[in-house]
Symmetry: C2
Subunit: 476 residues, 2 copies
């Protein structure tokens, strides 16, 4: 054992060590069951850092050539030969672990997963029930579509121009003055956030937001190295924003906040706008629930934006169909052009057919008609769920009467909402969205959705939720 | 002038200086036309680095409060008050310039732009002519669609399961053995590359590829900090791959390469596969032109992949419609699950309607039927263009007879293809894809597409191309 890696070689020391050990096994010098020298001894022999040895050994363990026996050391495995023959695959696990994008939180992966199972009662889902989607009407409208010759080709960077015009007309009703060049069609609001993250912010930028937020359950910003910073919308806000040391944006959901259901007053909107204006910080106004207010909405922040400081996001996911994957982003031309350029580099535009469908629904008036039906149905569902809450949950939880949208932000009197609680409900075939995915410190809340489950399921699911909650509270 | 910034403050020195100077102007202490002290004097006064002063002044110039007069110094501008009132916008340009994602090359932005103009003859477009898209048939098939209640909701991470089954059956015919769990539906092949870039590679990873490549015209990898490395597929290849110092992948377009039109033999595929296997490097096999070979295709590399080393990419963009934005990625389950998780975080899945359409076309046999028509039409167009080339271009250029797909990789005898040449053709309303967007060193080639322009336009466009080429060659 007098070999040492070659420091002049183009191959890394670690790689050379891996190759050398592999060769020992391959040539039969080290047979199955051979105990390796300690890491310190190997480091000495190879004249390298211990961490280099350790990393090489880790990789060899990962591929199954070596194994650690607890308290005893590292050995050549008994199926090492088999491994050598088999192990022609790249080490995918290493690729995955070292890559740039973070995985979803485990709880959210589980939610994505269990949502596929028909037997689950989905008490938290942020999506309209299939029965609330106008499926028959969408099918019917497909028959009314006819495409211009170019409509099914690659799209222009900002998306279908007719659709952009229709969106400008549509948002005019809520007080937003926009021209087609201020609009970029996106594949849902989530993509808009993604584009802003990579197209407008430098690494380490600050994303200000409220402490409980949809943005904590996904991570378009976190994945590219932005810092999330929770702030309170109080008297100190303007000062906090001004004192930032880095580029920043403010992310807000002023209408029917996900998950809290909060609706800001006109005054609250103005206060935020002015604080951000003084600090020269752009606002991302995520307004995907705008259409679902039970009462007439107050104009969005974007409506008071004379200086091009607000990036405004809308979507048809919460109203018409999430499967269409169509949303829009409205902002100053320079910003929109920039983000459209990146969109082209990302996916060459959104589905042309989905765009045509949304255009048809906006132009024909079908959309507005559908919305007024939808609000009624959501109101009924909200009433139904609140009735159950009032009958059963008064002693264990509190909540606000919802003003629209999908959610009741149910607060248990005790901090019982942890992963175990979530899993216990899964065992009883009830799927919830626990508050901690929106605020890691929060173990009091769950996001209850009255939009997805059927009336029977809502009834049954809430019964089970109640039982589990009471059981958990007994520990307090 | 005895103020100094406060080093204990949470606000950066630069920001404090900006605020202080702004205040001087606001209070009227420094009126329009005031000449500022030199940067050195200011740095001394503030007791900060000159670069801090410089950056603060730059920002104040950017917003129009100050201006530099050449050779004289820095002054308060005459519309500084106006600026102060107006300047409430965030400085978008700074946001854009410092952000993570690179802009498209200017030539490509121009191409995206001019492609929107009807008067242009598009000699380079990588897209089927509207007349080759089965628009009427797609419209008709929309009438045959009917959706399951859940079909228009948010999608499962890997996409429509029926579609994944149909894709498995479809690729079986080319020798690929895949199960639905090995498939992820993507919004076009480009998105597949994007997902691999952020979901499997660490920063600084190496993407091996041929020196001329589609990947140089887009930058899903470059934008997230990967190193592109051109390699020749020669005897040294295996060694080059093994000697890498970092994680790596090999990107290949073995069938109807974009832009060269090359088609690898079975032997070439095997050689690459074995070299990558020895080096344990994954292969990205981009096979979006597979269906468009005029002769029967050789099985893809993925068909020989027993060890899960190849990530295989297909798409309907080049065959049915780019506007659908549907492609697929086939690979080992762990990898697919990982990339599907990121896809969920990126855009919550691809358009459900587009997926249903592709499913319908695959299942009904319409797709295969359409493909055989399409290949014939492309063959006719290829013959037509080659005829013109033979009549006119023999003395100025050379080329290979195309084996399928859209492109002829036309090589001029002189290196005349630069940005000026590109712009001169635009002035004559002819849009080309110059070779340098696929290989920055290449000024000999253009990618000629016979797939997009009409026969008349092809004739006229080639005439103009010929004239411009001859004119440019006269300089040599
Ligand atoms: C506040 C908020 N923004 C954005 C989204 C994403 O919407 P889309 O489906 O349009 O991407 C959601 C959906 O959960 C949401 O609640
Ligand atoms: C080799 C290659 N890969 C991928 C793509 C992108 O295809 P899609 O439209 O499916 O994203 C193209 C289209 O230009 C291409 O030529």
């Amino acid at each position: 054992m007098s070999w040492q890696p070659n420091r002049q070689s183009a191959t890394t020391l670690q790689q050379q060590i891996i190759q050398w050990i592999t060769a020992q096994v391959e040539r039969g010098d080290w047979v199955a069951g051979t105990k390796l020298p300690t890491q310190r001894q190997l480091a000495l022999q190879f004249d390298v850092n211990r961490s280099t040895v350790q990393q090489a050994l880790e990789e060899l363990k990962a591929i199954g050539l070596l194994e650690a026996r607890v308290g005893s050391g590292i050995y050549v495995t008994h199926n090492s030969w088999h491994t050598l023959i088999q192990q022609t695959q790249p080490n995918w696990q290493t690729y995955i672990e070292t890559s740039l994008h973070k995985p979803n939180y485990h709880t959210i992966q589980l939610i994505n997963d269990y949502e596929q199972r028909d037997e689950m009662i989905r008490l938290g889902t942020g999506e309209l029930a299939p029965s609330l989607l106008p499926i028959k009407e969408i099918e019917a409208s497909l028959q009314e579509l006819s495409f211009q010759p170019k409509a099914l080709g690659y799209s222009s960077p900002q998306g279908n121009e007719q659709l952009r015009i229709a969106i400008c007309n549509y948002v005019k009703k809520r007080g937003i003055d926009a021209e087609p060049q201020h609009v970029c069609i996106v594949s849902g609001a989530l993509q808009a956030l993604q584009l802003i993250a990579v197209g407008l912010l430098e690494q380490g930028s600050i994303v200000f937001q409220e402490s409980t937020s949809y943005l904590n359950s996904i991570h378009p910003f976190q994945s590219v190295g932005m810092q999330m910073m929770s702030v309170q919308r109080d008297k100190q806000l303007a000062q906090t924003l001004t004192q930032r040391k880095r580029q920043a944006v403010f992310y807000a959901i002023p209408t029917l906040h996900n998950p809290t259901g909060d609706v800001w007053t006109a005054q609250e909107k103005r206060t935020l706008y002015e604080a951000c204006q003084a600090a020269r910080i752009p606002i991302i106004e995520d307004d995907v629930y705008h259409e679902l207010l039970f009462e007439a909405p107050v104009p969005p922040i974007k409506a008071m934006d004379s200086s091009g400081q607000v990036l405004y996001i809308g979507s048809v996911s919460k109203t018409l169909s999430p499967g269409l994957r169509i949303g829009w982003l409205i902002g100053p031309t320079t910003v929109i052009e920039r983000l459209a350029d990146i969109k082209m580099q990302t996916d060459y535009g959104s589905s042309a057919i989905s765009q045509e469908i949304v255009l048809h629904w906006l132009q024909s008036g079908k959309y507005d008609q559908h919305l007024s039906d939808l609000r009624q149905q959501l109101q009924q569902r909200a009433d139904f769920v609140e009735q159950i809450l009032q009958e059963k949950f008064q002693e264990v939880a509190s909540w606000q009467t919802p003003k629209g949208g999908f959610y009741i932000w149910l607060k248990f009197h005790q901090p019982i909402v942890d992963k175990e609680f979530f899993m216990r409900l899964i065992q009883r075939q009830v799927l919830i969205n626990p508050g901690y995915i929106y605020n890691p410190q929060d173990h009091h809340h769950i996001r209850l959705s009255y939009a997805y489950a059927s009336y029977e399921e809502l009834w049954e699911g809430l019964e089970i939720l109640y039982e589990c909650a009471v059981k958990s509270m007994d520990f307090y």
